[in-house]
Amino acid sequence: MSKLGDLGARLYRGEVGYDFVGKRFLWYGVSILITITAIVALAVQGLNMGIEFRGGAVFTTPKTSASVAKATDSAAKASGHEALVQKLGTGGLRIQISDLDPDASTAVKKQLATDLKVNAADINSDQVGASWGEEIANKAWTGLGVFMILVVIYLAIAFEWRMAVAALVALIHDLTITVGVYALVGFEVTPGTVIGLLTILGYSLYDTVVVFDGLKEGSKDITKQTRWTFSEIANRSINGTLVRSINTTVVALLPVGALLFIGGGFLGAGMLNDISLSLFVGLAAGAYSSIFIATPLVVDLKEREPAMKALKKRVLAKRAAAEAKGESPDDFTEEPGDGTEVVAQGRGGRASGRRR
């Protein structure tokens, strides 16, 4: 704990720091790799669409001594369709039968009650038409579109268009990864998953926005100084918000994790589990992308500006001059970027060389 506290202080002073911006191509590469994997998995394996997308019924029984095998058998016989049965933490069973006509479900329910020796009135049923999940998914797409447009507008106003673009890319990145994980692991996609995905939108941006807020403030008077280039300032921003990012991510993941492992473990698959699983995956991806993808992207966009290019020139010139004079360059012991044209060099390790 205190170690993390110390880390916070050292990060704050720039004693330690990771060169997020300088190594951004490494992380771009990692992200591209993950994204490609996700897309391939999606294409090859596809998503395991839940019953809500195929139509069918889900029955949840109270505590029963009947075995899973018996229930599977009974459900299959009664419905004429394949059934998926899971044991729940409550001792009950969750029986999924796809392609089951809602009308037929009443009969199946009765049969199950007889076979599993439970009261039919105690069996919960959830019957969904094939279009139900699709409808939620369609609405989710609409929501996604609307949200993205609004957020881009908002970020463009509150910050600037570059940050809006970077945030959007990071957002799409998070969603792709999350969906990819679902395809790869074969988690079931339910309306709960879709809700979780939509919630990630907010969370992912929340993190990104906080980092950007720091960056905006840090770079407010950037052209009036000649000490640091934009990318260096950006890297500072990330490092400066790192502790906060870690803390908030941990704090956000704790309840979601509890929901996932306790709520889900207790009840088996269900709405709680579906929402929390996609949230869990998405949150982690969101925290990663706000640090490794969103801010570096802003740097890439920003460094193209003439003003920033000029600044970089000035900064490097000043450093070169200082070096020539033999002065120990106070805050920039680190060698400047290799050549003027090159992408900005991160400054994460800068201070550490001197102070450590």
Partner: protein, 613 residues
């Protein structure tokens, strides 16, 4: 959002922390008091937690009527479904629109799920049927009124209380003869001129008749088939004051058959024996309740389609020649008579008005119903969930346990990391929890908000969002302390920028919740609603509670001295020793990295105040 205004609140919070705290205290007390005054001390539970059946209906767009799914029609449909559900004798059932084209019907536990589904999903049906007989809602005492047979002339008992003849035959066999159907098609003739209204009672009616009616003997009407007699027997026995009977009356009857119906007349239940439908709701082009300026009373005007106009002309032409009550037609919506105007002349113009005894409300209601009949929406079941309360309870328990554990983990983490400061966060979370709970409880009554499982999930997820704001602020304060400031100025200087960050990120979060709420359906909305509500409350709590409390605590010795357990120990935080600070002030631009002036705040050891929060 990004640029907080220098409004009263920041200044107030800064200068008079007591005031902000008083506001939030009053709010909490008021909400709690409101909760107890309304007797709504727990949030209303959604059907998935309380047990019951939840049916999601989706309006199908009818070919040729692209605009039929609109708000007015949806609301009318909700009204009609509500009547149906209430016909089941279910109280507390709720019917609401959701999104553009969904209707959610929540029926609490203890009702016949199948019956509910049957009733809820079917299309609303509106018919104009000629009245054959009318009586008070109560079963008629077995006193057979001698009158002409149904076959001979359809003019039985002229008095409203008089019952039509009944036959001794109480055969339950419905007679859906082809002749009946074909006759029924030529409605008015079949009814008025030719005679026998050959009804085909539904099985349910027959059952009722068997249960109830010791059918009085009467001369078997010549040529009348058993079904007519059966229907008449049932008419006598029918008790419209009984909810269950009302719910079943006329179920499954074809428009081409005669039927029975209940309805309210002058505030009390009456029952009708009705002929085959002469005009159906689709024939009405438009109807509305308007004021007849000449007579100064509310009337309902109707416009018929071309086809409807000729049908209406025919039926009114025939009815006009009859005597009461057979000069009336009944407007039957879902087997319930909503109006039974009498006809004094044939109405041929394709439009008509109904007058007499309407209030503004009743006229407009009837107008709505009539025009709704002209635009029938049909619904399909998208999702039907039945949950027994037992499992709902398990789910709620699991959700609450998960929430409690999640909260506990957050608290432990905060305590470990922020020590004394964590208590402020924890109390703030508690304040937030109290506000959320009371508002949820009150909203149950106010807007019908029901806590469902996804909503519980949303509340748990929101713990993270709320805690996040504190982290933003605390990290800011600690940064200020690292700058070498003492606590009191640190708390104040950290606030404006933490405030901005909190507002910006909460706005994004709220935006996500709002979009989610608007585009989604049913259960999902509960999740989005909770998320949005808690995000808003987060802002309220941070502004009106956390910040003022922080200001107050900065005055205490424990915190301001940087006690090792306060979480604000300058040494532990790595605050610059005064010596360094002096040097820095000399070397640096002197603006101080915390001033927010940006990159030129480049001090030796704290180059840029890039860290936000």
């Amino acid at each position: 959002m990004a640029a907080p205004k220098k409004g009263r609140r920041p200044t107030g919070a800064q200068g008079r922390p007591g005031r902000a705290l008083a506001i939030i205290l009053i709010a909490m007390v008021a909400l709690t008091a409101g909760m107890f005054l309304t007797g709504q001390t727990t949030p209303r539970l959604g059907i998935d937690l309380a047990g019951g059946t939840s049916i999601t209906l989706k309006a199908k767009s009818e070919p040729g009527k692209p605009g039929a799914i609109n708000e007015t029609n949806m609301n009318t449909a909700v009204g009609i479904i509500e009547r149906r559900v209430n016909g089941l004798g279910v109280s507390e059932a709720e019917v609401q629109t959701q999104g553009r084209d969904h209707i959610i019907v929540n029926i609490p536990k203890g009702t016949n799920e199948k019956q509910a589904r049957d009733q809820v999903g079917t299309t609303a049906q509106l018919y104009f049927r000629p009245v054959l007989a009318f009586a008070d809602g109560k079963p008629i005492a077995p006193q057979p009124t001698p009158s002409t047979g149904a076959s001979g002339s359809p003019s039985p008992s002229p008095s409203t209380s008089g019952a039509p003849k009944a036959s001794g035959d109480k055969s339950a066999s419905p007679t859906p003869s082809s002749s009946a159907t074909s006759q029924g098609r030529a409605v008015p003739e079949a009814l008025m001129a030719t005679g026998s209204p050959t009804p085909t009672p539904s099985a349910s009616e027959s059952k009722k008749a068997d249960d109830k009616a010791p059918t009085p003997s009467a001369p078997a009407p010549s040529g009348a088939d058993a079904a007519v007699a059966d229907l008449q027997a049932k008419f006598i026995a029918l008790d419209c004051t009984d909810e269950k009977q009302r719910a079943n009356v006329g179920l499954g009857v074809k428009p081409t058959d005669a039927t029975l119906a209940c309805g309210k007349r002058g505030g009390t239940w009456g029952k009708w024996l009705l002929g085959p439908a002469g005009v159906d709701g689709k024939d009405v082009k438009d109807a509305k309740g308007v004021v007849d300026t000449q007579r100064g009373q509310w009337i309902v005007t109707m416009q018929f389609t071309d086809k409807g106009a000729s049908k209406f002309a025919k039926i009114t032409g025939e009815l006009a020649t009859k005597q009461s009550p057979q000069n009336q037609f009944a407007i039957v919506l879902d087997n319930e008579v909503v109006s039974d105007p009498y006809v004094s002349q044939a109405l041929t113009g394709g439009s008509a008005e109904i007058s007499g005894g309407f209030t503004q409300q009743t006229a407009q209601d009837l107008g709505n119903m009539l025009s709704y009949g002209a635009l029938p929406l049909s619904f399909q079941e998208d999702n039907v969930t039945t949950v027994t309360a037992a499992l709902g309870g398990e789910q709620l328990k699991a959700g609450l346990i998960a929430g409690a554990i999640g909260l506990a983990l957050v608290v432990i983490y905060l305590l470990a990391y922020y020590r004394g400061l964590a208590f402020i966060a924890i109390i703030s979370l508690m304040v937030s929890g109290v506000l959320t709970y009371t508002i949820m409880a009150l909203l149950g009554k106010a807007i019908g908000f029901a806590l469902n499982l996804p909503a519980v999930c949303g509340a748990i997820v929101a713990i993270g969002i709320t805690a996040d704001s504190f982290i933003v602020y605390f990290e800011r304060i600690r940064d200020e302390i690292r700058e070498g400031r003492t606590l009191r100025p640190a708390v104040e200087r950290a606030w404006p920028r933490a405030r901005r960050t909190i507002l910006v990120s909460d706005f994004v979060s709220f935006l996500a919740a709002a979009v989610l709420f608007i585009v989604t359906v049913g259960k999902v909305q509960g999740f989005a609603f909770t998320l949005g509500l808690t995000t808003l409350l987060d802002v309220v709590v941070v502004f009106l509670f956390t910040k003022p409390v922080m200001t107050l605590l900065a005055r205490t010795k424990f915190f301001s001295s940087g006690h090792p357990w306060s979480g604000l120990d300058p040494k532990r935080l790595g605050a610059k020793p005064p010596l360094r600070r002096t040097r820095r002030t000399g070397t640096g631009t002197g603006t101080g990295s915390a001033s927010g002036s940006g990159a030129n705040a480049a001090a030796v050891s704290a180059p840029i105040d890039a860290k936000e929060a």
